[in-house]
């Protein structure tokens, strides 16, 4: 039983990170119907820049408590990733807004390769360990172990996601975003500045990505320039699972995927008598993705979208 709870906790932690990244995918998809392939790379950039900033700060003799140092690192990485997100949309997506849908998908893949290779140029192709700055005392929870770090990740993710939901529901920008995602041309007739809204979507999504990147780094203890692909793909799966374009769906999908993956991988070995082990963990995400798309393409919370001609 405690194994189950342990896997549940681990899944919840990973899932809340997936959810945070999935929000970035789903926001862009909701507005542009575009898979922003480069989002995983934004997450990676967030993690790598934070690690570098923290090591420069602590190397130059700044004497701050650990968590504050990480916050300082985030204050460096978030603006940079925001700028990256803004630039990506301007350079690679905006000129192709009216092109066939294959075109922006290809530029998105191109951007993703470029970011990854730039990261390899800067940081070399080696994993960087995440500095040991955050509290990680462990607590006993119903027979399982939960660390301060895990609690911190889940709480922070929930706070950020809550903030985003409030932003989208209550503010003027949020209303504009919803309007653009429903119908761009009508929204622009109502006086919504489409380009501004789309840019802001990318900027906000990238900021969330940077935060998630730091969480990934802290949770696994390391970050590397090619990490963006797998984490991005899983987060995208989460977004599809919840119903892409739907914010609450992305959160639900992220948490669910994290739990499925973690519990599934934990039990796969014992159930199959050691035939299939936890090394099949990555297959789970893809299996879930394919099953969802085949049986419920609109996702768990998504509404059935009419075919676009």
């Amino acid at each position: 039983m405690d194994i189950f709870i342990q896997q549940l906790i681990n899944g919840l932690v990973v899932g809340s990170i997936y959810a945070l990244i999935a929000l970035g995918y789903t926001m862009v998809y909701g507005i542009l119907q575009l898979i922003n392939f480069a989002h995983g790379e934004i997450v990676m950039m967030g993690a790598m820049i934070t690690i570098s900033a923290v090591s420069i700060l602590s190397g130059s003799g700044v004497n701050l408590p650990g968590p504050l140092l990480v916050v300082a690192g985030l204050l460096v990485s978030i603006p940079i990733t925001m700028l990256l997100g803004f630039t990506i949309e301007r350079v690679a997506y905006r000129p192709l807004r009216k092109a066939p849908r294959l075109a922006p998908l290809i530029t998105a893949i191109g951007i993703s390769i470029v970011l990854q290779q730039v990261a390899v140029l800067i940081w070399k192709n080696n994993p960087r360990s995440f500095p040991d700055l955050l509290p990680h005392a462990s607590h006993d929870f119903m027979g399982a172990v939960i660390t301060d770090l895990q609690i911190l990740i889940v709480v922070l993710a929930l706070v950020v996601m809550g903030g985003l939901l409030i932003m989208v529901e209550k503010t003027k920008l949020g209303r504009a975003m919803r309007a653009v995602s429903m119908n761009q041309s009508v929204a622009s007739l109502m006086g919504v500045n489409i380009n501004y809204v789309i840019s802001m979507t990318f900027v906000i999504g990238s900021a969330l990505g940077a935060v998630a990147g730091v969480m990934v780094g802290a949770n696994y203890g390391l970050a590397y320039p090619t990490m963006g692909f797998m984490i991005g793909l899983k987060a995208f799966t989460a977004a599809v699972l919840g119903g892409i374009g739907n914010l609450a769906g992305a959160v639900a999908g992220g948490l669910l995927l994290g739990i499925i993956e973690s519990v599934g991988a934990g039990y796969l070995g014992p159930i199959t008598g050691g035939v299939l082990g936890s090394h099949y963990q990555d297959i789970f995400a893809f299996m879930v993705l394919i099953l969802v798309l085949v049986f419920r393409p609109s996702g768990l919370l998504g509404e059935r979208v009419a075919e676009r001609a």
Partner: protein, 381 residues
């Protein structure tokens, strides 16, 4: 090309004859001027041409975006590798299935094509209702699943030998001659790379001919109809389900043939060769060259395969000379330039480098209107 032939037969035949001679002597010229690595590169370029033409059927003709295409290449490669290496010998010996091993090329090749085609249908059937981005993601997932299985099927029964891959794969042997040995005909020594070149060239030409024949056939036109408007195609009486599955199977079988040849050529396969990036590279060949246009796709394949190889030869010496140390890894630079090229070509020429006339016209429908508007503005301005 076909139109030219109709216009002036003798000139066209002469042109084709010259082209054939160039293709025939190319490996020797390359070998003499640039060294044997370049003959090898030529062989690999042929494999990529086959791959790109296979994907062209799925993406270019039928308009189904496939991001996991390399899985079929992998299937072909593993079929050849497992049946032509010592790896499965202990498992099969004494089971009555020994006849599976060391089958002649003319059996293995169709088998690889068939199995890859079956995988194509396997991928195609659950994804029939999906389109666009969703299809792209599912195919991507499929490609990764195939790779992950190859990576993990070394236990409990060792089928694929896991991450270590399968080695000691036997080279192709045709008419009783092993391709690993050189052969001398009329005083010219044909080495292994040369023999493979002619074999790959023949297969590539076969695939080109099949592609051309398919394009104007009833099936080819059905694919294009589906690409342009699936609902309209259905209304015209096309069985979209079967026709789409056929596109997946057809494209996959080309990939399977190419994969089998890759395995025999390299003598070694591992899951490392079948990562997502390879699928993306092949897709980029099709899109950058000009989707649905055979000469364009071939151009894309050659350009995208050979340019990085040139870079590999140029970057390190250049760095040594200019800076005195190797700051940039050529592989790194190659991928970086590749990404930039993808973005750049899509922005400047979304129809590809060498598109068909029809497709080019579709992309520039409103250019005339724009020009007229500009004229009017200027006149009134």
């Amino acid at each position: 090309m076909l139109a030219n032939i109709k216009q002036s037969k003798p000139a066209a035949y002469a042109g084709m004859a010259i082209f054939a001679v160039v293709l025939a002597v190319l490996p020797f010229v390359m070998g003499a001027t640039l060294g044997n690595t370049w003959v090898r590169n030529l062989d690999l370029a042929m494999l990529y041409i086959m791959l790109a033409l296979g994907l062209n059927i799925v993406v270019g003709y039928a308009g189904l975006l496939d991001l996991g295409y390399i899985a079929f290449y992998a299937v072909g490669a593993y079929v050849y590798a497992l049946l032509n290496s010592p790896h499965l010998v202990p498992m099969l010996s004494g089971t009555g299935f020994e006849w599976l091993l060391h089958m002649p090329l003319l059996v293995v090749l169709p088998l690889a094509a068939l199995l890859a085609g079956i995988f194509g249908v396997l991928l195609g059937s659950p994804t029939l209702k999906l389109r666009g981005d969703y299809l792209a993601i599912v195919t991507l997932g499929f490609g990764e699943i195939v790779r992950l299985f190859m990576n993990n099927l070394d236990r409990p029964i060792n089928i694929t030998n896991g991450p270590q891959g399968v080695n000691l794969i036997e080279p192709v042997s045709l008419f009783g001659h092993k391709f690993s040995q050189a052969i001398t005909v009329f005083g010219i020594e044909f080495r292994s790379v040369h023999l493979y070149y002619y074999l790959f060239l023949a297969l590539a030409l076969l695939i080109i001919v099949v592609s051309i024949r398919l394009q104007s056939s009833r099936i080819g036109r059905a694919w294009v109809a589906i690409r342009e408007d699936e609902i309209a195609a259905q209304a015209m009486g096309i069985n979209t389900r079967n026709v789409k599955l056929l596109a997946f199977a057809m494209g996959a079988s080309f990939g399977g043939v190419s994969g089998a040849m890759f395995a025999s050529f390299q003598g070694f396969v591992s899951p490392e060769s079948f990562i997502l990036m390879e699928s993306i590279v092949v897709l980029a060949m099709v899109v950058l060259g000009g989707m649905g246009h055979i000469p364009g796709v071939i151009l894309g394949a050659v350009l995208l395969f050979l340019t990085p190889e040139v870079l590999r030869d140029v970057v390190n010496p250049l760095q040594d000379k200019l800076i005195g140390e190797r700051l940039v890894n050529p592989e790194n630079l190659r991928m970086l330039l590749f990404g930039i090229a993808l973005i750049f070509v899509m922005l400047v020429r979304p129809e590809g480098l060498w598109p068909s006339k029809q497709r080019k016209a579709e992309f520039h429908e409103d250019d005339d209107l724009k020009a007229k508007d500009a004229e009017k503005e200027a006149a009134h301005g």
